[in-house]
Amino acid sequence: MLRRQIKERAIRYIFFILAAVSIFIVFFILFFLISESLPAFQEYGFSIFDSDWNVTRDVYKIGAALFGTAIVTIGAMIIAIPLGLAGAIFLSEIAPYHVRTVLKPIIELLAGIPSIVYGFLGATLLVQYLVPTFDLLKGKSYLAGALILGIMALPIIISISDDALKAVPRDLKEASLAVGATKWETIKKVTFPTAISGISAAVIMGMGRAIGETMAVSLVVGNVMHIPVPPFDIFESGSTLTSIIALEMGEATGLQTYSLFACGVILFIIVGTMSIVSNILKERIEKKFKGG
């Protein structure tokens, strides 16, 4: 008995230490990012969000990259949210059992494809396809980035939304059907609204993936550090927070390095906030059905 208790305790401490190590690592990374980016924030203050990045002038303000990340992410979500939600509703509510058992693992497999493969396909196929289709000078554009990221975010959105929809208790749906609502009305008025916090979590996680993605984006977005005129010209090439880090970190010196770290800090804050919000939303849906 005593031995067993010792064993239990030992295992508990080991796991505690492992968990503590991962927390420590996260804080260490955060501390390192902030300390390395501090000189850039001190130099520029809030003007670091202006759009002006030029080695010749030794000016490194990250506004263009932040703008690029925003526009590419918005574009990706415009593509991924409707497709993803439709896919999730089909998968959880409409698809017959055998279709679902085939489709779900395939969609999840899509999430496992390395991002460089998406980037490679984007650079060789998508970019070449966009040029004649839209009569463009260049295929490398915000649009190409948004398309690639939209596709990459799809499996996450579908898979997590599907889980959320599946978690909606059966009696709710049956009650709705029993009072004469059609299948579509039930989905629209009962199932979907009930699962909304889980679905929001799915969308936010998909967005997080889009924002943090580097390899695929840097191959298709063009990496030009500017805000195009007009700014929402999605056929223009641009840069994102991740692509500029990938492109320039290798040979950067001095202030440029600090500014690249500042890009990292901003990414960390955005993605970190999103992951916290999505966790809160997920917890809420779990409480809704289990606690109450």
Binding site: N54, V55, T56, R57, L137, K140, N223, V224, M225, G250
Partner: protein, 306 residues
């Protein structure tokens, strides 16, 4: 229960092994540090090098290789730019000043007792950048551009090939990441008819009208071969007559010969300046850079050997 006892034994054994390993590691580390300490105390010769970021990779790798060949020599290599390199060597701060341009009288005017003639110019390599276009553009009458035309293309004043005698197509402009040494050379040397360079244009707040920014020479070459509207620039070694041909600049086609002779305009020599004739180890190191081994490194780094 027995299983737990066994695993505890194993654990203890592992701990013992771990301790022995640790002891050995510590011994090795200590031994090594004492050993290296000895060497340093017994009079290491130090050479310091500073200057151009273009020459930096050559200097760094040559220094590494040279230190492998010579145990008691320590070479420190730093960047900072050509001006810093020339000033630092002139005021005696470093032994060798790297520069990707020739030293000017203005570089040394504030340094007492040093004339431009005191600096000895050791040319260690040449650097030439080819302007490349898609085969389609080259086959359609654009075989020669002036510096001014290239300047106007990159600043966005010319945006159609028809403006330089080619087909009625928009120009797809390829550039390198701003950290690239090739890019630094390109913007420094491309100038309009009044001698105003792309670098001046950027310094005065201009932004180049580029469409695509690449990390490597090879990516420029592949982008140019894939897009028939494309123009770009790359190190001479990356030119491919069939997929990514070079064009003449001011009437001169880039080649090892035209770069060495100084005929090709987007070229320059790379220098290692010393204060007075180099002597002793410094001379030996510069000779190493100029030797076949050193020149192999020069070529590997994408420059043209002497």
């Amino acid at each position: 229960m027995g299983g737990f006892g066994e695993s505890l034994m194993v654990e203890v054994k592992n701990k013992k092994i771990g301790k022995t390993m640790l002891a050995i590691l510590i011994a090795i580390t200590f031994g090594a540090s004492i050993f290296s300490g000895c060497v340093e105390e017994e009079g290491t010769i130090t050479i310091s090098i500073k200057g151009s970021s273009t020459v930096l990779p050559i200097a760094e790798i040559c220094a590494e290789e040279y230190m492998k060949l010579n145990d008691n020599i320590l070479i420190t290599v730093a960047g900072g730019g050509s001006s810093v390199g020339i000033k630092s060597v002139a005021n005696g701060e470093v032994d060798i000043g790297d520069a990707s341009r020739a030293a000017k009288a203005s570089d040394v005017e504030n340094i007492k007792g040093v004339e431009l003639s005191n600096l000895v110019d050791n040319v260690i390599a040449y650097d030439g950048i080819a302007v490349v276009v898609s085969p389609y553009i080259k086959n359609n009458n654009v075989t020669d551009l002036t510096m001014e035309q290239i300047y106007m293309i990159y600043t966005g004043e010319i945006s159609y090939w028809s403006e330089v005698g080619g087909p009625d197509l928009e120009i797809y402009i390829n550039d390198r990441a701003s950290t690239s040494g090739t890019r630094a050379t390109f913007v420094e040397l491309i100038e309009n008819s009044s001698g105003y360079t792309l670098e001046d244009f950027e310094e005065d707040g201009g932004t180049l009208a580029v469409d695509d920014v690449h990390q490597e020479n090879s990516q420029v070459v592949s982008a140019v071969s894939l897009n028939q509207n494309a123009i770009g620039y790359a190190g001479l070694g990356y030119v491919n007559e069939e997929t990514c041909p070079a064009i003449k600049v001011d009437g001169v086609l880039p080649s090892t010969t035209t770069v060495k002779e100084g005929d090709y305009p987007i070229s320059r020599s790379l220098h290692m300046y010393t204060l007075g004739q180099p002597t002793g180890t410094v001379k030996d190191f510069i000779d190493y850079v100029k030797s076949d081994e050193g020149q192999d490194i020069v070529e590997e780094e994408g420059f043209i050997r002497l």
